[in-house]
Amino acid sequence: MKRGEKILLIVLLVVFASPFVMTRLGRMNGFVGTDNQAQAMIGKIRPDYRPWFNSIFDPGEKEEWLFALQAAIGVGVFSYCLIKLHARRKTSNRGQKE
């Protein structure tokens, strides 16, 4: 693997990992999600509006972990696909040379 590619991979990993590291460090506790802000805005424009359907499953406090799980599944599948692609590339290159 070339040096530039290694740097690329490391930067990607840092970006993917950053929200969870920051949440752990407590730095993100003060940040409010824009989705929640939009919800609050609805309350301001239409104070009488009540949601007519609730989530079937509410993870509550565990939500943050489920987001981490989603990202982890994504990173897993993403890496698996790239590794398989890489392996296939190698075999087909070898086939061409011989």
């Binding site: 970006v15 993100m28 409010v32 939009a38 919800q39 609805i42 424009i45 359907f53 994504g74 696909c81």
Partner: protein
């Protein structure tokens, strides 16, 4: 861009579901076709889907004390055209609605419309346009992903404005208010999404996972 469960009036929830359904159905046919005719692209399809899965799970801190998340639909839209992303994006949103209580089943249609339909089509259009003007694949894909990300949030703001017009300013006044919620926070994140997309594109091209066809469209390699 996730409109929370139950936060769209019934008529709007149904309307957006009806609007999104044909795109997802057509996307399903395109996805099937892609896997049948080009089975060697399954891994790249998997990677594109996983990319959206990762990026839409990232709640990144942004300016002014708010956090938001990228969408990750630009990459797949450029590689496989937008209809395929309608399906992959809908799967991600369904997962988040059911397991993360983020978004919702009643608002799934509206959220699919903004993230899995408008975003990918805008990304695809911008990419084609930039390529015509001689931009490189990386610049094209990066800018396309960033603008696609923003277009998704603009769509959400418009959807909310249509459902909740401002008592004095009407739909337009309300749209400006909702855009105010998203715009400032989203711009830096859209830039990050663009840079990451360009980097992934570079990774894929460096390894010849993807190649350019004569029409300078991106096609899959072996």
């Amino acid at each position: 861009m996730h409109i929370a469960e139950g936060f769209l009036p019934v008529a709007h929830a149904i309307g957006w579901t009806i609007a999104s359904a044909p795109f997802v159905a057509h996307g399903g046919r395109r996805l099937n076709h892609q896997m049948r005719e080009h089975p060697q692209t399954k891994l790249l399809l998997g990677a594109s889907g996983a990319f959206t899965f990762i990026l839409s799970a990232l709640k990144l801190p942004s300016v002014t004390g708010s956090s938001s998340h990228p969408t990750g639909t630009g990459l797949g839209a450029v590689l496989f055209r937008p209809p395929v992303m309608a399906v992959l994006g809908a799967i991600v949103l369904l997962f988040q609605a059911l397991l993360l209580a983020h978004g919702g089943l009643t608002t799934l249609g509206a959220n699919v419309f903004s993230m899995a339909i408008v975003g990918p089509w805008v990304s695809f259009g911008i990419y084609q346009l930039l390529r015509r003007f001689g931009a490189s694949v990386y610049v094209g894909a990066g800018v396309a992903a960033a603008i696609g990300d923003l277009s998704t949030y603009v769509t959400t703001a418009v959807q909310l404005a249509l459902a909740f017009p401002d008592p004095t300013g009407g739909v337009l006044g309300s749209a400006i208010k909702f855009m105010g919620v998203f715009a400032v926070s989203q711009v830096p994140l859209a830039v990050i999404e663009g840079v990451v997309t360009a980097m992934v594109m570079r990774l894929l091209m460096n390894y010849d996972y993807i190649k350019l066809s004569e029409s300078s469209d991106i096609v899959r390699a072996d």
